[in-house]
Symmetry: C2
Amino acid sequence: MLEQLERTAVELAAEHGYDAVTVEMICEACMTSPRTFYNYLGSKEAAILGPRTPFASEEQVRRFVHEPTDDVLVDFLTMVIDSLTEVAVDPALYRLRQRVIYTTPELSAKRLAIDGEMEARYRAVVVERFRAAGRTEATDAELDDEAHMVIALSRGVLTYTAAKWYEPGFDRTVRELIENSIVLVRRVLTTSS
Amino acid sequence: MLEQLERTAVELAAEHGYDAVTVEMICEACMTSPRTFYNYLGSKEAAILGPRTPFASEEQVRRFVHEPTDDVLVDFLTMVIDSLTEVAVDPALYRLRQRVIYTTPELSAKRLAIDGEMEARYRAVVVERFRAAGRTEATDAELDDEAHMVIALSRGVLTYTAAKWYEPGFDRTVRELIENSIVLVRRVLTTSS
DNA sequence: AGGCATATTTGCAGGGTATGCAGAAGTGTA
DNA sequence: TACACTTCTGCATACCCTGCAAATATGCCT
């Protein structure tokens, strides 16, 4: 039932636009009552957004912390992207969902806010990595600041990547996109003009 | 009237929390009707968010495009921050507003979305600067990509800066914060681990 | 099958945001 | 005072969402 409600919500929103679809419509299509919809999903938004994006697994975090390359940003982005692409389930529905979210400002905003809630946790992970790498010369505050910035930059890169990913003529893999993004970051920060 | 409604909305929200304040409350405090509130403001959100953040002025854009230093990111951030801090008006109300927004996830999200709408325009400005600097070796698509990344990174830095700015013990100026942020960006991208 | 406990589903009342519309109230002018 | 014009207001309506209690379905035991 939950699955059917979500699917129907996403499909209807993709077809008519998020605002044009009412909870009642979704329920009629699913032959159930609005009250049940709210019991399962809590809100119309939640139906479209779907399950919360997962935090990186313990194993992924462990690798990030204890098997560093010489580039935090790349490692961090790799970890996050890996955790995101692990979800799988129904790829068609997944992509439809993303499309609806991405084309509805209200929903992208909400999604950004939700993902932002994980940032504090990720920040701690980054600090842990710094510590593990023997960064003992810096104070806690300094490392936390630096971790904060790693997260902030990653957010930028991920935003950029997501935009590319949802552009009409998308053909490359996420990994290629991220690699391309990193190259771009370096270019922006090293070349003049 | 409009001003009074906004001020009252922000003050009540700061005191009781955004969700706890109803439009009716605001209107009672202002001795007016809910209908008038909606005539002026359109939504409760709008009352708290206030006027849209302005785009950089023509003069600021001109300087960014034609008087480049060797660092796009710094120049871009400088331009944006300058345009943001030019607003002025009532500083106390301004800060109260920011605080309410920053402490209400729903509102920060919305604000981020609104600001995001200016990114396309800023991207064009960055490309213009690249062109003015004689970057003729690159294709349009390449420059646009690079500009896109400048914006994405800036968003990250601005997010970081905003977080710092609204931390309890804030004492430094925005300019100092930005400079500090840039240093941090470079460190993250150049030092190992 | 009948009876029973539990879980799921539903209806209903109500509070909140927001919009369209038409009429009321205020304002300035001849 | 009469008129035009702007501003404000009330009312009806649509939609989102929540709490509560009743109805329905489900599974299990005798």
